[in-house]
Subunit: 336 residues, 2 copies
């Protein structure tokens, strides 16, 4: 599908670009005219001429003046937008995933996690899962358990089976009557509130009431407000196959490896991978905010109140087709 502004290329150029990109994805080595000409059914000189045209269009690049061609970022983008046709999942891939999907005793987050582990192993790229409980989760139970004079544990369970807990520390002495009254009120008022509205609900609905019934309402309200506020901000980050991507030949340089490892370690950078758009999206090189030398393929999921992002990170020369299909399959099949 050509959008306005897209580069117009002949059908032969398209074939050539496809061959070069798919060859490069397989071998990671610059592709020369000779290796292509048999399949193109013409001489290497002709291939060279076309390659030169594709280079002028910015779709191919050379590593040095007399090297074979490698795809440019624009080339990959063109491939993804206009050439690549979605494959079906291979039976083998499907089978491995189905095993996990069919296991009823796993929670949704477990299924997602395990599926991503599997595809990290299958593809040799790195999987990232960013999970978060969402709007669709309603508070169905709040439990507060006293540990000692100054410490409580607050537990929130949602109607979707999501559990979060947090320790609460109370500054100074607070009467146990006040504590139990606060808990009683919170439980009475807050059940049924969407989890991401709890903070504002506490502030506007609960605070005024507590201050009427509870003596040391300030200490107690603040402690609970802080605890509940964190519930809604908790991001679960999970990764699988960190080392996979580092085994790709483009990461043979020790410094590059360290750079990537340190980005994997940085929670802010990893959290920024969160996908906002719809569908499976591909961010090639400078298009992603992780690293210019990688591609990130990711998609949002929202299944039964579990929301989050699943992503695969690999070299720009990654198997776009397969990864896209796999992510799609996971998101679609978990719904069932």
């Amino acid at each position: 599908m050509l959008k306005e502004g897209d580069t117009l290329i002949t059908s032969r150029q398209k074939d050539l670009l496809k061959m070069i990109i798919e060859e490069y994805i397989k071998t990671a080595k610059p592709v020369g005219s000779k290796s292509i000409c048999e399949r193109m059914d013409c001489s290497s000189a002709t291939v060279r001429a076309e390659m030169s045209n594709l280079e002028d269009l910015g779709l191919l690049e050379k590593t040095h003046i007399s090297s074979g061609r490698i795809p440019s970022e624009k080339g990959y983008r063109y491939y993804v937008d206009n050439i690549m046709e979605p494959k079906k999942l291979s039976g083998e891939d499907m089978l491995k995933l189905q095993c996990i999907m069919d296991n009823k005793s796993l929670t949704i987050s477990d299924v997602i996690e395990k599926s991503m582990e599997i595809i990290a192993e299958m593809t040799n790229y790195t999987a990232i899962i960013l999970g978060k409980s969402s709007k669709d989760n309603l508070v169905s139970k709040v439990e507060v358990i006293p540990i000692d004079e100054n410490n409580l544990v607050a537990i929130v369970v949602t109607n979707k089976g999501h559990v979060e807990h947090k320790n609460i520390y109370l500054e100074g002495h607070v009467s146990s009557r006040d504590i139990s009254k606060t808990i009683e009120l919170i439980n009475k008022l807050i059940v049924g509130t969407p989890i991401d509205e709890v903070s504002s609900f506490l502030e506007f609905e609960v605070k005024p009431i507590i201050s009427n019934y509870v003596e040391q309402h300030e200490i107690l309200y603040n402690a609970f407000y802080n605890a509940f506020n964190e519930f809604t901000n908790i991001n679960h980050v999970n990764m699988a196959g960190r080392v996979n991507m580092l085994n790709q030949p483009e990461f043979s340089d020790a410094d590059k490896i360290r750079e990537i490892v340190s980005k994997f370690d940085d929670k802010e950078i990893v959290n920024a991978i969160k996908e906002e758009g719809n569908g499976v999206n591909i961010y090639i090189g400078s298009e992603n905010n992780f690293d210019d030398d990688v591609t990130v393929i990711k998609t949002k999921y929202n299944i039964n109140g579990e929301v989050g992002t699943i992503a695969m990170i690999g070299p720009k020369r990654m198997d776009y087709d397969r990864v896209t299909t796999l992510l799609n399959y996971i998101v679609e099949n978990i719904n069932k």
Copy 2:
């Protein structure tokens, strides 16, 4: 302190060994006789003769026939056992840690985690925290919340404020009467049981009783048994500063970096770091089960029912003194 079997060396040899090791810890470069002789107040030839003796004793090594000396594993071991004298913590180091220790609103696990993050940054090594709730935790509350017909959430809170939860899936239809009866019985029977005895307690004390009162006792008992069994087996693994160690010059090789990263990724290998002995222990090179090229310094902690291991991993040429002191400080000061 010389133990039987220890190598006996002269006091001058001891001084020399100390200098060489401390120099090598700083620079990571083989130490030559010339750079030492000024500090030893003798000629380089004399130093060379003594170096040769220390090499015969197996305490020093050469990287090639005409290189300077580097400590052997045995040399480090001798240094750690007989030469190194525990330094006091620097005021700066102490201050940074104290900030965290004094924060009352953090749980013990949070304090440990944050402290380890700090010392990973200070030392440029990698920190590992293996946590687990222990014998000293007694079950103080069991909460089971139904999600839908087949799914429950079980939550266990201990008297120390530790919370674990697990989703339970019930095969087939189970009457809600049976479910609530089971929950009632479990709650009645299990409170006060040490968390690591829950499994056997369930089997021998709870199972017979449930089978009397509950119709579909088999399904229910199995579901709960599995859930509770996992509580006692949960290991929390945490790492900080993965990349720190990789910045050390001994890990300039891409393959070595990959090897280490993949070991960091392997839960089994990381879990095997768990310390069994008492005090702060040092495992140099082949003495540890992580990697022959690293040293692991670790210690068990058991604070208020939170037990686990904290460990630092670095090159064999790590700052034994400082790391030992830091780990000691953390474990000792958290108690307060």
